[in-house]
Amino acid sequence: MSVVLEAKHINKYFRKPLLFHVLKDINFQVKQGEFVSIMGKSGCGKSTLLYILSTMDTDYEGELYLNNELVTGQDRQHLSYLRNKHVGFVFQFHYLLSEFTVLENVMLPAKKLAEKSHQEIEHDAMEKLKMLHIDHLAKKRASRVSGGEKQRVAIARALINNPSIIMGDEPTGNLDSHNAENVFNIFKGLSEDKGLSLLIVTHDEDFANKTDRIIRMGDGKILL
């Protein structure tokens, strides 16, 4: 199976307020279709790692490969493009644009990518919403839907450009067990049916146990 994401000797320092070595020589791979969770105590650097992997944080040492392409050292414009095309992101706090409708929120990354016509994008977006059983919310303002629904909208948005990998920063952290279960099942389905890679940071032991692989972190290192 091909490798979607690979980290080689990643080191990161926080310089303020004191010099602090957050990530110490991180090496790992995520293969296609793999459902990986990252676990660890608060402050162990797992979210920091995730933001480096997402290409949003560029202040690190080491090398990062996305689809076997070296990402480290690319200019921000190109990183934005890679993020847009290859990475879908789901956050703990849904992070929808509250002034736009659900459908517009889902369509936005695809419009930015501008590889398809408006009709195709709208069609795709409706497909994703249907798949997640929230198509009846399409015309509602993002600020008017419930928390669990928002998270599903965020997942639909993450999927719109058919990315290589979906990253989540505690996507179930803010949801009750019913909705958390729901989101997990969606992820599981994506991994099994669509062959999508998933990399999810979580605190939830139950959630992590159901994934293919758990990367445990402590004090900035991967624990074996």
Binding site: R76, Q77, R83, N84, F91, Y95, K111, K112
Partner: protein
């Protein structure tokens, strides 16, 4: 690279959902531009009127024979004293004729010049207006009334009667309104005038002249060239002044120089004669622009403030846009386009409001003794002002939007997302 439809769609949604803030920001620009347009139209209107008061009647080049001492005294022509230091005391002006020698051929020559719109002859003389035993000193100028009316706006200053009436009436006079008041005369009456060298001539009053300058109106009257020539007992080639109107006022200085050299006459151009009016106009314009720019800068700060606040409110949106693949430049363009839309809408509204206000001011009655033909406040609707106003609206909103949007461009999405 920039995806305009998406960017504009986002800024449109931002602006429309915060319609109150948007309209306040736009109103700031509107008032700035509106008051600028009103102010500048009104001020330059007044300026033009004040300048026209003098300049309209002033020829671009005024040619006459100056009474002055000879530049070369005879001693300097005497070869034996060449190179020595000569002192001549008590120099007197040279006796010469007041009339312009060969005036009619000169006028013909000037009329043929392609940059000359008109060259009009005048005969100026001092006379006395005689009322019983009282003699009032004054000036009588012989003119071609219809030509003067068409080239020097003479008609604007004729309060009763007309230039045509003067042209067609033999021995007619267009009397200064000040003299008419002093002597209790009305149109149709006769006034007796006497030139300096004697004789009395009765002239028929065909109208009154009011320049708006009281001192001038108390002495100045006009009649036909021929009538003055007759009063003075001179031939019809007796012309004391030639007034030249040009197509392009900028050519006045070189033409005046050329005439002085070619004909050995005194030629005064309008710039030299009326330098003080230009100074006044410049200073008034300066004040107008200082006030307008202050207004526009205040409006610019308003936009800056509102955009800054908008960006603080939209931190999350900015982070999410960046996380989903929008680049910093895209985000900057989103906020810049919002600023420019505010500037555009505010600017256009400002132009409309300025136009309406200026038009309103233009209908307010404004009557004054000094300005016989002015009935309402003068307004100068120059399209250039609208262009300047609009450009400034766009420029100030660009600057006001640039700094906040630069900040939005630099926002680190990780910090916002993790800060939650």
């Amino acid at each position: 690279m920039a995806n305009w439809p998406v960017i504009l769609n986002i800024s449109k949604t931002h602006l429309l959902t915060k319609i109150k803030q948007t309209s306040i920001a736009a109103l700031g620009v509107t008032f700035g531009i509106g008051s600028y347009i009103t102010l500048v139209c009104f001020m330059t209107g007044l300026n033009t009127m004040l300048d026209d008061l003098i300049l309209n009647q002033t020829p671009h080049v005024h040619v006459y024979n100056e009474i002055e001492p000879s530049k070369q005294q005879p001693i300097s022509l005497y070869d034996d004293l060449k190179g020595s230091f000569n002192v001549v005391h008590s120099i007197k002006p040279k006796l010469s004729q007041k009339k312009i020698h060969n005036a009619l051929p000169i006028i013909n020559y000037l009329e043929e010049n392609s940059s000359v719109r008109a060259a009009l002859p005048q005969v100026k003389t001092q006379i006395f207006y005689i009322a019983g035993s009282i003699e009032i000193g004054g000036n009588l100028t012989g003119i071609n009334p219809v030509d003067e009316a068409s080239f020097f706006n003479m008609a604007d200053y004729i309060v009763e009667g007309s230039a045509e009436a003067l042209e067609t009436t033999d021995n007619g006079i267009l009397l200064g309104i000040g003299i008419a008041k002093k002597m209790s005369l009305k149109v149709g009456d006769r006034v007796q005038v006497s030139p300096i060298n004697g004789g009395i001539f009765p002239l028929k009053i065909v109208g009154f002249y009011q320049s708006g300058i009281a001192d001038l109106d108390a002495v100045q009257s006009f009649t036909n060239v021929k009538t003055v020539q007759r009063i003075l007992g001179k031939a019809n080639n007796y012309i004391t002044d030639i007034n030249i109107k040009l197509f392009d006022i900028e050519k006045a200085v070189p033409l005046a120089k050329q005439i002085e050299q070619q004909f050995d006459l005194k030629a005064i151009d309008i710039k030299t004669a009326n330098a003080q009016f230009e100074t006044g106009t410049t200073i008034r314009n300066l004040i107008t622009y200082a006030v307008s720019i202050t207004l526009l800068i205040v409006a610019g700060f308003g936009i800056y403030n509102i955009l800054n606040m908008l960006i603080y409110e939209k931190m999350n949106d900015i982070a999410i846009l960046k996380a989903t693949g929008f680049s910093g430049t895209d985000v900057q363009l989103i906020f810049m386009s919002q600023a420019m839309i505010i500037g555009f809408v505010g600017g256009v509204l400002g132009l409309i409001i300025g136009y309406v206000l200026a038009t309103l001011i233009g209908t307010v009655p404004f009557q004054t003794e000094a300005l016989p033909t002015v009935e309402t406040y003068p307004i100068n609707m120059n399209p250039l002002f609208f262009l300047i106003g609009f450009s400034f609206a766009m420029l100030s909103t660009f600057l006001a939007g640039y700094l906040p949007s630069k900040k939005a461009k630099k926002i680190d999405p990780v910090r916002i997302i993790r800060g939650q």
